[in-house]
C-alpha cells in the first residue's frame, strides 16, 4: 500500500516531537494594565461587539465580528487616532477549524501604540474591503486574495498581484505543496508552447534540489563529469575541459599529457 499523506496540510512537520513537551504560551496581559489601551477598548466596547481583548508583547489584540470590520476600522481611524494600517493578511486554519483568521495591524503615531484587529471567517465567506478607509489596503487585500483565496467585496480592482492571473490555487494555503501542484508543473509549457507540447517537453522540474542521475543536459549529474548530452553510462568518462581548438598561448591540455608530481620540487 502506498503511504497515506495528509492532504489537509502538506507543509513540513517536525520529524521529532517529545511526547511530554508542552509548548509554553506567551503571556496575555489584561487590557487594564495599559491606560491608553484600556480607554480604547472601553470606547470600542460601547459601540461594537468585542469578543476578546488582551495585550501581547506590548500590542493590543482585539477580536471583533466580521460584519463590523469597516465600521471598526473607520472608528479606529477617526475617533481613536490609529492613522496607519501597516499590515493586513490572513492565517490559514482550514485544517483545524475550516476558518481563516484575518488580522489588521494598526499604528497610531500620536499615541505611539500598535494594535491588531482580528476576526475569523469561514472558508467561502466574503469579507468587506477597507480600501475606502485606508488606500494601503488596496494591494494588501489583493495579496491576501492571491495567496489565500479570501473573497473580498467592494474592492475596485480584485485581481491577483504576485502570481499570474491564470494561476491555479492559492499558494499560501497549507494544502498547497511547497514546490507547487501539478498545474504549476505544466504552467509554463502550456503557456509558451501549448498543451500539445506536453508530451514532447515533459513537466517542469520544480524541486531545485532534485538530482537526476541519468540527466546529462543539466547540472544535476552525479558521480562523474560527462560531456553535454552524452549517453549515460556507469563507466567514468575522461573529459578534457579545454575546447577543441584550445586557447591562444596555452598549449592544448589533455589528461594523458599531465604529469603528476609526487612531491613539491
Amino acid at each position: 500500500m502506498r503511504k497515506y499523506i495528509d492532504k489537509k496540510n502538506t507543509q513540513k512537520k517536525a520529524y521529532y516531537n517529545d511526547r511530554f513537551y508542552k509548548a509554553p504560551q506567551i503571556p496575555k496581559e489584561e487590557v487594564d494594565s495599559d491606560e491608553v489601551f484600556a480607554k480604547d477598548v472601553e470606547s470600542l466596547r460601547s459601540k461594537f461587539n468585542i469578543k476578546e481583548t488582551y495585550i501581547q508583547r506590548g500590542q493590543l489584540v482585539v477580536y471583533i465580528e466580521p460584519k463590523d470590520i469597516v465600521k471598526v476600522i473607520t472608528f479606529l481611524r477617526d475617533e481613536l487616532a490609529y492613522n496607519f494600517l501597516s499590515e493586513l493578511s490572513a492565517i490559514d486554519w482550514l485544517a483545524k477549524s475550516g476558518e481563516f483568521e484575518i488580522f489588521y495591524q494598526m499604528l497610531s503615531t500620536s499615541k505611539r501604540k500598535r494594535m491588531r484587529v482580528k476576526y475569523f471567517i469561514k472558508e467561502k465567506q466574503e469579507i468587506q474591503s477597507v480600501m475606502g478607509i485606508y488606500k494601503s489596503a488596496d494591494w494588501a487585500e489583493r495579496e491576501m486574495y492571491d495567496m489565500f483565496g479570501v473573497k473580498i467585496t467592494g474592492h475596485h480592482y480584485m485581481k491577483r498581484i504576485l502570481m499570474p492571473d491564470d494561476w491555479h490555487d492559492h499558494p499560501l494555503r497549507k494544502t498547497y505543496p511547497l514546490h507547487g501542484d501539478e498545474e504549476a508543473q505544466w504552467y509554463e509549457i502550456d503557456k509558451i508552447f501549448g498543451k500539445e507540447y506536453r508530451d514532447i517537453i515533459g513537466p517542469e522540474e520544480r524541486d531545485s534540489a532534485k538530482i537526476v542521475e541519468k540527466d546529462t543536459h543539466n547540472f544535476a549529474r552525479i558521480k562523474h563529469e560527462v560531456p553535454f548530452g552524452a549517453e549515460y553510462s556507469e563507466e567514468p568518462v575522461d573529459t578534457d575541459y579545454q575546447e577543441e581548438d584550445g586557447i591562444l598561448i596555452v598549449r592544448k591540455l589533455s589528461k594523458k599529457d599531465v604529469k603528476i608530481l609526487k612531491e613539491r620540487p
Binding site: 507543509q11 513540513k12 512537520k13 517536525a14 520529524y15 521529532y16 513537551y21 509548548a23 509554553p24 504560551q25 506567551i26 501581547q56 508583547r57 500590542q59 492613522n83 496607519f84 494600517l85 501597516s86 499590515e87 493578511s89 492565517i91 490559514d92 488580522f103 495591524q105 499604528l107 503615531t109 505611539r112 500598535r114 491588531r116 485606508y134 488606500k135 494601503s136 488596496d138 494591494w139 495567496m147 485581481k159 491577483r160 498581484i161 504576485l162 502570481m163 499570474p164 492571473d165 499558494p171 499560501l172 498547497y176 511547497l178 503557456k191 509558451i192 508552447f193 501549448g194 507540447y197
Partner: protein, 408 residues
C-alpha cells in the same frame, strides 16, 4: 517550435477607453530605471500620464511559504534576499522578531555591533539610492562618486563578515563574531571621510538647475496621502510627518545615542532627496557615538538561553551537554512559545515589519513580511497620473523601491 503569436504581449483583462487618442505603453518589466522587475502599464495623453497600473510579481519567490517550511535559523539567510541593498536590516528585523517572540535579552556588545552594521547598511542603501536616482535623472557624475563611497562601506562589511552584499551577519540572539582588529580604525577613517563626500554630492546636485527642475514639485505626496497609503521612512518624513521608529519605539540602544530625525515639509522629490542626505549624516553621527560605547562593553556576543540559542563554540567542543543542545537546535530547531508578535524596525526604506505566528513548533505557523517598498509601489497608481512620462522615472527612482522586497 515556438509559436510566435503566443509570445505577443497582451493586456490581461484590462479595459481601457480606446475611443480617444490615448496611448497605452508598457513600461518594463525590463527597463533600466524601473529598479528591478517593475512593469507599469501607463495610459498616456500626449506625454501626460492619465492612468497608471503597476504590475509586480516578476521576482516572487514565495518567501513566506518558504519560512513556513524552515526552522527559524534556516530562514535567516533568506531574508538577505529581500532588500538586497541593505541586507543586514532584514536579517536584523527577523532576528529581533524572533527574539521578541521568545523574550531574549541580547548582550550589550552584540547590540552595539548590530547598530553599527545597521547604520552602515543604511549608508550603503542611501548611497546606492542617490547614485541610481541621479543616474536615472541624468547626473552620471554622482553615480561614480557615490559608488566609490559605497565600496568603502562594503569593504567594512567584508572585513567584518566576509560578505559584501548578503551578509547574514546578525543571528538570532546576538552576532556570531566580534569586530576584527583594526576594524574600528577603518570605520573611524570612513566616518571622517564621509561628510566631505556627502558635501560633494550636495555640491553637485543641490543647486543644479537640471536636478532642481526635475525634482521640485514632482511626485508630491501630501501628508493625508502618505498616511492613507501606509508610507513609512523617508517617504513619510518627506511629507512632514516626523515618525522614525528608531526614535519613537527605540530598539537596541537607539535611546542612548543622540541623533535627529530630518523632516521636510516640501512633500516633493527634492525634499525627500534632502532627507536622504541628512539621514546619512545622522547615521555617521550614530556610528561615531558607538565607537566609545563599544570599548566599554564586556565580550559576550550571544544571548545565554540554552533552550533556544547554541552555546559558544568553545563550550560546544568541551562540554557534552552544550554539544547535545547544539545538536538538537541544529537538527530540530528551536521551539518558541505559542503566540504572535509584530515587530517593526526602521529599515533604510521605511517600516520593515515581521509578523510571526508561532504554534510552539520549530517552524513558524505564519510569517508575514511587511516590506516598505511594497506599499511605496502601490502609491504609484495615485502618484503618477497627472505627471509627465519623463517624471515617471524620477518618481520611481525617488520612491527607493527594491524588488526583492516587493515580490518577496
Amino acid at each position: 517550435m515556438q509559436k510566435v503569436n503566443r509570445l505577443k504581449p497582451f493586456f490581461e483583462n484590462l479595459v481601457f477607453e480606446r475611443e480617444d487618442n490615448n496611448m497605452i505603453i508598457n513600461f518594463g518589466p525590463q527597463h533600466p530605471s524601473s529598479h528591478g522587475q517593475l512593469r507599469l502599464i501607463l495610459e498616456l495623453d500626449g506625454e501626460l500620464v492619465t492612468r497608471a497600473i503597476p504590475d509586480v510579481g516578476y521576482l516572487h519567490r514565495g518567501m513566506e511559504k518558504m519560512a513556513e517550511n524552515m526552522i527559524y535559523n534556516e530562514f535567516l539567510p533568506t531574508t538577505d534576499r529581500m532588500d538586497y541593498i541593505a541586507s543586514t536590516s532584514n536579517n536584523y528585523g527577523f532576528a529581533l522578531a524572533v527574539e521578541k517572540l521568545i523574550g531574549l535579552e541580547v548582550p550589550r556588545r552584540a547590540q552595539i555591533i548590530r547598530m553599527m552594521l545597521l547604520e552602515l547598511s543604511r549608508l550603503t542603501s542611501h548611497l546606492f539610492w542617490i547614485a541610481t536616482h541621479a543616474l536615472d535623472v541624468g547626473a552620471m557624475t554622482v553615480f561614480l562618486y557615490a559608488f566609490r563611497e559605497r565600496e568603502y562601506a562594503m569593504d567594512l562589511f567584508e572585513e567584518y563578515c566576509g560578505a559584501r552584499l548578503t551578509h547574514s551577519a546578525v543571528r538570532i540572539g546576538g552576532v556570531p563574531l566580534d569586530l576584527p582588529q583594526k576594524w574600528l580604525i577603518h570605520l573611524m577613517k570612513f566616518i571622517n571621510d564621509m561628510p566631505e563626500a556627502i558635501e560633494t554630492y550636495e555640491g553637485l546636485l543641490d543647486q543644479n538647475r537640471i536636478w532642481k527642475m526635475r525634482l521640485e514639485e514632482v511626485g508630491v505626496i501630501t501628508p493625508e496621502m502618505a498616511q492613507s497609503w501606509g508610507c513609512s521612512g523617508p517617504m513619510l518624513r518627506g511629507s512632514g510627518i516626523a515618525w522614525d521608529i528608531r526614535k519613537e519605539e527605540p530598539y537596541e540602544l537607539y535611546d542612548e545615542v543622540e541623533f535627529d530625525v530630518p523632516v521636510s515639509d516640501r512633500c516633493d522629490s527634492y525634499g525627500r532627496y534632502k532627507i536622504h542626505m541628512q539621514e546619512m549624516r545622522e547615521s555617521l553621527k550614530i556610528l561615531k557615538q558607538l565607537i566609545p560605547m563599544y570599548k566599554e562593553t564586556s565580550p559576550e556576543l550571544m544571548a545565554h538561553a540554552p533552550k533556544y540559542i547554541s552555546a559558544p563554540k568553545e563550550q560546544i567542543m568541551t562540554q557534552n551537554y552544550s554539544l547535545m543542545q547544539h545538536f538538537v537546535l541544529v537538527t530540530q530547531g528551536m521551539r518558541p512559545p505559542v503566540g504572535e508578535v509584530y515587530v517593526a524596525t526602521e529599515s533604510p526604506k521605511g517600516e520593515l515589519g515581521f509578523y510571526i505566528n508561532s504554534q510552539g513548533d520549530p517552524y513558524p505557523y505564519r510569517l508575514k513580511l511587511r516590506a516598505p517598498s511594497f506599499w511605496h509601489t502601490s502609491i504609484l497608481q495615485e502618484l503618477l497620473p497627472g505627471q509627465y512620462l519623463a517624471d515617471v522615472v524620477t518618481i520611481i527612482g525617488n520612491a527607493n523601491i527594491v524588488f526583492g522586497e516587493i515580490d518577496r
